[in-house]
Amino acid sequence: MKVSMKWINQYAEIPVSPAEYESRMIMRGTGVEGVEYLGENLENVVVGRVLTCRDHENSDHLHVCTVDVGENEPLQIVCGAPNVKEGILVPVAKVGAKLPGGFQIKKGKLRGVESYGMLCSGPEIGVPVELYPSVGDEGLLIFNEEYALGTDVRTIFGLDDYVVDFEILANRPDCLCCWGVARETAAAMDTELKLPEIKVTDVGGDIADHVKVTVENFDRCPRYAARVIKNVRVAPSPAWIRQILHAAGMRSINNIVDITNLVMLETGHPMHAFDLDKVRGRHIIVRNAKAGETLRTLDGKDHELLPSDLLICDAEGPTGLAGIMGGEESEITEGTREVMFECATFDRAGTRQSTRRMGIRTESSGRFERGVSNQTIMTALERACQLVNELDAGDVVGGHYDYYESLEAHKPIVCSVKRIAARTGVEITAEQMVNALKKLNFTVEFDGGDVLTVTAPDYRQDVELEADICEEVLRMVGYEHIPSTRLRGETTQGGLNPLMQRKKNIRRVMGGLGYDEMMTFSFVSKKSIASLGLPEDDPRMQPLMLRNPLGEDTACMRTTLAPDMLRILSGNYNHGNECAMLYEFGTLFDATRRTEEGLVTESPALSIGAYGKDLDFYAIRGVVEALLKTEGIICKIVPGADCYYHPGRSARLVCGDTVIAQLGQVHPDITAAMDLPEVTLLAEVDMVAMYDCATVMGHVQSISRMQAVSRDIALVMKEEVNLGPVMDTLREAGGALLEDIRLFDVFRGKQLGDGLKSCAFSLIFRSPDQTLTEEHLAPIMKKALKLCKERHDAEIRS
């Protein structure tokens, strides 16, 4: 919210620089986003009088003028404006002047004649017609009042002022106005608050003879007040009002409309002015919409109404959305004779629901949504009438309407001085508290002991508890006095939860394996899940949908990490990164399984993806196996995985009955569609399963001091025989003495015959307590060969 500093100064003196003011207000609880000097881009432009004006000898439209700017010598300035003539008073940009838009005025020569400045139009110096009505659009801005020659024009337009951009927090709607920030200013600066005394002179008569008002729903419209002005004299507003509106970023319309806007900026109460001749039946009715009713608002849009919308109606039908936007009908125009000022409150939630649904947001609705005080309505209404008196904009009719069902004054809050101080950690005395609260216009009674009885001023709606009083006290005493103390009390255990600890371990292991962690959003599109080719009845195909997603690509919560991993790998590949080795932790959301609370099931998962030189199926399998080994998990490798993997180059890692991971080369159709390298590797680890199967490390085994003995065998078998089970068989035959098996060669060739392979294994044996001899090993090797023949149709290579 932008407010002119000069304006605030009228009500509460600011005895410090704008920068100091900004930081003091911030430290006392009123946010300031910035302070801007209105005349920032306008320098060295002064009032000057055109003394002489002759035609330029080399031009049919330029004039050569001499201009008195209050200096010893008049300036010679070449001017092309059609309305330049002798005697006029105009803004003169002298050499060195700065104009809005970054223009700098330099000495120049126009068609051979030297020119020492520029005579300016309104737009050239950033002055719109709302700010100075005689700006005109025919050329130069010609002043219609006398000003001393050489006067800085910023003082004339009120641009010699700072505008403070306040950031008013959600709990302080009372500060969304000049008087509100003036109250805070007076408290923060410790200066006196000087709000105007409000007196209205009416010409008698009775409002009831001019208009009738009926409020049907006090829940939605808790208070509705009105006064009538007759013999309205619509005219432009005086400069001071125009300047205040300009500084606030609003346009000046005419005196009546400007009064309603000014009062809103002063008091925070949105007001509305009705042209009573246009109110049919001279009857205003505040009621809920009926089903099927429609309304065209001022912005020309038609709205279908619901019974939850609140309307302002006249005798014949709806004319406006209460507190949101008026109708076209009752606008104030030059012909307006009688006006009714409305000052009312409309409830927050209801206003919010209507604006949300219709997508309308106005200055007025914004204020009602944040909360407008019921208590201070009459002040605002009377202030508007006082301004009518002051501007002579019409005659105030006697009497007023003020409808409400109940008005509850704030209840006193009983506080403990000790508790307030203890909460802050600052040593604050009762006297300091009383002082601070009084500065903020609270009523305070102190019993001399520990009890403060505090009542908030009528404009405050955010103070209910002792804790609220504590905050008021603390911000006035100063947050800078909060000490830095250590926590005391019973000790707590502290530490990472198991999942965090495990993620930390995985980061360490994956780092050692050369993989980098990445993060992506938790959203996916249904399309991207579907592109994996999963069957319709797969639970992953029924993701949790958002009601208000940012877009189609982010419309649901992910049920698999695969699409994001593939997308990121593809991005890396297309940016020319030769190699990518990545992993991501992510929560999977299963909408098909609900918790007791009705929430979706969330489970942690890990995805790993890679492409690059020397990276193949065995590389990704190795990574997952190595990772699982750190958790003490030894898995069976079962060929095959979901359909988006290469059917012959994918596997599941299974521990007991639990599938912990699936991994492999990504299906070529998918790599082609996603612009990925042909060999792209993916692994998906179910972290819940992983930790279900994890084992705690037990005692270590001592190391045997005996010599190891090795026996090599080459087995010939059919190509389709998987080596994993063969290794298992060898391991079984080897028994306790077998320390390790290594596959050291796989040979295929004509000598063997088609469809056969020869695999050479080295079996390493060691006993804990004796040196092994042929006597020990021969039966073992014999058994190994026998089992291999039986189970795998593998024979020793001759």
């Binding site: 950690g425 009390g489 255990q493 993060m519 992506t520 919560m557």
Partner: protein, 342 residues
């Protein structure tokens, strides 16, 4: 010439020759010349026959001693030459130690994880227990228990993703605090890290998904001074002892009094730079004393207990710490970005 003199001559000559020779072959020649069958020392030994029987043992002793010394001289020189030869051979076996090779690859955690682990390590050291909760959350825990009833204007500050009227994507990790308060008895000291969601379009400083870590302490005599002390300790641990915090009044529905906290700029250490827009301070978090209404709604007697809470945006401190200017980089997974971290 007597034997001694002759021995001295042989020794002197040998010394000279040993000094001047340069390889093992020459040394062998020298050895032959002195100790060989026709060598000078051998000749001297033979000449002993002409000596008287009295002189003979003395001369023999002398010659044998000389022979031993000479042998040692030659052996020493031999070892010397061999060492040089080996050295020479190794020198010829030189490789280009500056030749470029690919580094063994060491993977790196995501920068946000680095920041998270740092903060968690500091907080767990202060006795905070790490607690996590659901990301898809009931409106009840995300808003209502935190003093944000439906249609409260403060809800506007948190553009929310809705699943339905009662279920939202959590907009902060505070629902974990609410759940913990309902399930544990004070004293409570917890840190709640996690993913949160706001319906913000993606740009350099906004993201619909980001991470927070919130802290909550509930005990009998907790003060706002303890809150400041805790944050001071946390940030000094993270960024150094010269880091200070500054509290400014603010408003959050779940705390009262509330504060916005600025930190000495970690880039310029308070001198003023681009990261802090010349102020020397950076805004890092919001905090305050838990609103008694929240305590009551979560089943804690607000007359007996007080608490404080704070919430840190992890991406924000990650970006400040590493000078990251565009938040999108954190979510693009580009190796050229990720591999700069360590």
């Amino acid at each position: 010439m007597d034997i001694k003199t002759q021995l001295d001559v042989i020794r002197e000559e040998l010394e000279k020759e040993l000094a001047s020779l340069t390889d093992i072959r020459q040394l062998e020649e020298v050895r032959q010349k002195v100790l060989g069958k026709k060598g000078t020392l051998t000749a001297l030994l033979r000449s002993m026959g002409s000596l008287s029987p009295e002189e003979r043992p003395i001369a023999g002793q002398m010659i044998n001693k000389g022979r031993e010394e000479i042998g040692q001289m030659i052996d020493a020189r031999m070892a010397d030459l061999k060492a040089k030869e080996r050295e020479e051979k190794l020198r010829k076996d030189t490789i280009d130690v500056t030749e470029p090779r690919e580094l063994p690859r060491v993977g790196v955690p995501h920068p946000t994880s680095l920041a998270l682990e740092e903060v968690l390590s500091a907080l767990t050291g202060l006795g905070f227990d790490v607690v996590e909760g659901p990301e898809v959350e009931l409106d009840h825990y995300n808003f209502e228990l935190l003093n944000l009833p439906k249609d409260h204007p403060a809800r506007d500050a948190q553009d929310t993703f809705y699943v339905d009227d009662n279920i939202v994507l959590r907009t902060h990790t505070s629902p974990v605090q609410a759940r913990t308060m309902l399930s544990r008895k004070p004293p409570i000291r917890i840190a709640c890290p996690g993913r949160v969601f706001r319906a913000d379009e993606v740009d350099a400083t906004h993201s619909p998904v980001f991470h927070q870590i919130e802290g909550l302490v509930i005990d009998k005599d907790v003060t706002m001074g303890d809150l400041k002390g805790t944050l001071d300790t946390l940030f000094k641990k993270l960024y150094g002892d010269d880091i200070e915090t500054r509290f400014r009044p603010s408003f959050f529905p779940f705390t009262e009094p509330s504060a916005e906290v600025d930190l000495t700029c970690i880039t310029c250490r308070g001198k003023g730079c681009r990261m802090c827009k010349g102020t020397g301070w950076i805004e890092v978090l919001g905090c305050g004393m838990v609103n008694p209404k929240v305590l009551e709604m979560c089943g804690i007697d607000s007359n007996e207990y007080r608490g404080f809470a704070f919430g840190i945006g992890l991406e924000r401190i990650t970006m400040l710490r590493y000078g990251i200017k565009d938040m999108r980089l954190l979510y693009e997974g580009d190796e050229r970005f990720l591999r700069q971290f360590r």
